[in-house]
């Protein structure tokens, strides 16, 4: 059972190693001639006016929060989806109620304008 997962672990290590090798190749082979202008923050040729880590739109937070809720819902749906053929109508109704509660929340967000980007 678990030995099936060994190749995956090795694959992940190799994949990350490929990433590391690709980037370090660039460091080894490329030239290094930094100067103040070259290493300044990119801002279309201007001197940077202020710190770049500025305030950004609160809607990005909102999307992140909604994402957590819905992604968890998907995680809940996965085991249910696999065994649905065996648990039959009772399982379907249980998940329907769960989804209905979430959909009510979803409609509330929609009406509140949380999904509006003008």
């Amino acid at each position: 059972m678990l030995e099936n997962y060994l190749p995956i672990l090795i694959f992940i290590v190799v994949a990350l190693a490929v990433g590391v090798v690709v980037v370090s190749l660039g460091f080894v082979l490329g030239p290094h001639r930094p100067d103040a202008e070259k290493c300044s923050v990119y801002e279309c040729g201007f001197e940077a006016f202020e710190d770049s880590r500025m305030k950004f739109d609160v809607r990005y937070y909102l999307v992140a929060i909604l994402f957590i809720i819905f992604d968890l819902e998907i995680a809940f749906l996965f085991p249910w989806a696999v065994v649905l053929g065996k648990i039959g109508m009772a399982g379907f109704i249980a998940m329907f109620i769960f989804l209905a509660i979430l959909v009510i929340g979803f409609i509330y967000e929609w009406k509140k304008g949380a999904l509006e980007w003008e």
């Binding site: 090795i10 694959f11 190799v14 990433g19 980037v23 290493c39 500025m54 003008e118």
Partner: protein, 358 residues
């Protein structure tokens, strides 16, 4: 040949653990090398195909040994050029995060292939939780984007990363729901079982029974990889290149490789889950015996190439969406449709209804 086999047999008897490790590593190389070549030549195909669509010729100068060869040497030349370019790290950037981000973007895009079944019984790891692993690996990619945007400490990069992350995350929900629909229909998380469940004929592949989910999955895949027409993250006309504006040389190449590897992955997964994977399109028709000699792997690759071509076709055809349109499509159109269709498929499974076209 026999001598090598004998040597290998005695070796694997003496050091069984080492032998399995070497075997696994060999398999990984066999998967990863063609993948990297495919990524390289996908960029060439993109330039060539879009070139012809716009009545241009595309790259046709760089060849091998003094021959032009339709410009087939172009990807190699590009790779070598990027290797010898300086990697500029801005003074204000977080140096460690700045270097880690491209690795994080490339690594998961490759690692996702570990569970991919290329033919009946031909997978590196045929695990039961295959689909879950894929969902996990494709989700990790967003870290590379957001870390890159944050570490660059540039306004354009930050804005691009924010847009990109919000978009990826939104479409991941639609994608996840579409996958749940596939799971309900197939009744298994194992990718090989999902393909076997589609066996029957061309009409039994899930593209027809799950048509809305199929369309939503592929369109979400396009949005997830930040490709046109959903490429606001790198909208050249407003935020230059988005989250990788400060990256150069091989750090940029890593993002590029990751993006194209992800496109190939999405195409291959669409082929696997909605187009019957390695199954022959002539199954159940009088033509079946004539094509029985074609290995399943060839069908899978042909289907994958079709979807890879669609990516390029979209880019040449559609104008870029506005950001509010993208978010509206993801949240207000795709998510409601997928939820409804999951319930429909769920009811069909509970009542054991036959496919409606049978």
């Amino acid at each position: 040949m026999d001598a090598i086999l004998n040597l290998w047999n005695s070796f694997s008897q003496d050091w069984p653990t080492l032998a399995t490790l070497i075997l696994i590593l060999l398999k990984i190389v066999v998967i990863m090398l063609p993948l990297m070549v495919l990524v390289a030549y996908y960029t060439y195909a993109e330039r060539k195909i879009i070139g012809y669509m716009q009545v241009r010729i595309g790259p046709n100068r760089v060849g091998f040994f003094g021959r032009h060869a339709f410009g087939l040497g172009q990807p190699l030349a590009d790779a070598f050029k990027l290797m010898f370019k300086e990697i500029v790290i801005p003074t204000k950037a977080n140096r460690v995060l700045f270097v880690i981000a491209p690795m994080l973007s490339l690594g998961p895009a490759l690692a996702a292939w570990a569970v991919f079944p290329f033919n009946e019984g031909m997978a590196l790891a045929d695990i039961n939780a295959g689909l879950l692993y894929l969902l996990a690996m494709t989700s990790v990619g967003v870290y590379g984007v957001i870390i890159a945007g944050w570490a660059s400490n540039s306004k354009y990069a930050l804005l691009g990363a924010m847009r990109s992350a919000a978009q990826i995350v939104s479409y991941e929900i639609a994608m996840g729901f579409a996958l749940v629909g596939v799971l309900v229909a197939a009744g298994s998380l194992n990718l090989s079982d999902i393909v076997r469940a589609q066996s029957g004929s061309l009409l039994h592949w899930y593209w027809l029974p799950l048509l809305p989910l199929f369309l939503i999955y592929f369109i979400s895949g396009v949005a997830e990889t930040n490709r046109a027409p959903f490429d606001v993250a790198e909208g050249e006309s407003e935020i230059v290149a988005g989250f990788h504006v400060d990256y150069s040389g091989m750090t940029f190449a890593a993002f590029f490789l990751g993006e194209y590897a992800n496109m190939i992955l999405v195409s291959a997964l669409t082929a696997l889950m909605f187009m019957g994977g390695w199954l022959s399109p002539f199954q159940g028709t009088p033509l079946e015996p004539f094509f029985a000699w074609v290995p399943g792997f060839v069908w899978l690759v042909a289907k994958t190439f079709f979807f890879m071509y669609l990516f390029l076709w979209f880019r040449a055809t559609f104008p870029r969406y506005r950001y509010d349109q993208i978010m509206r499509l993801g949240w207000k159109v795709f998510i409601p449709i997928t939820i409804v269709w999951i319930l429909v498929v769920g009811l069909a499974v509970v009542y054991q209804l036959p496919w409606w076209f049978d």
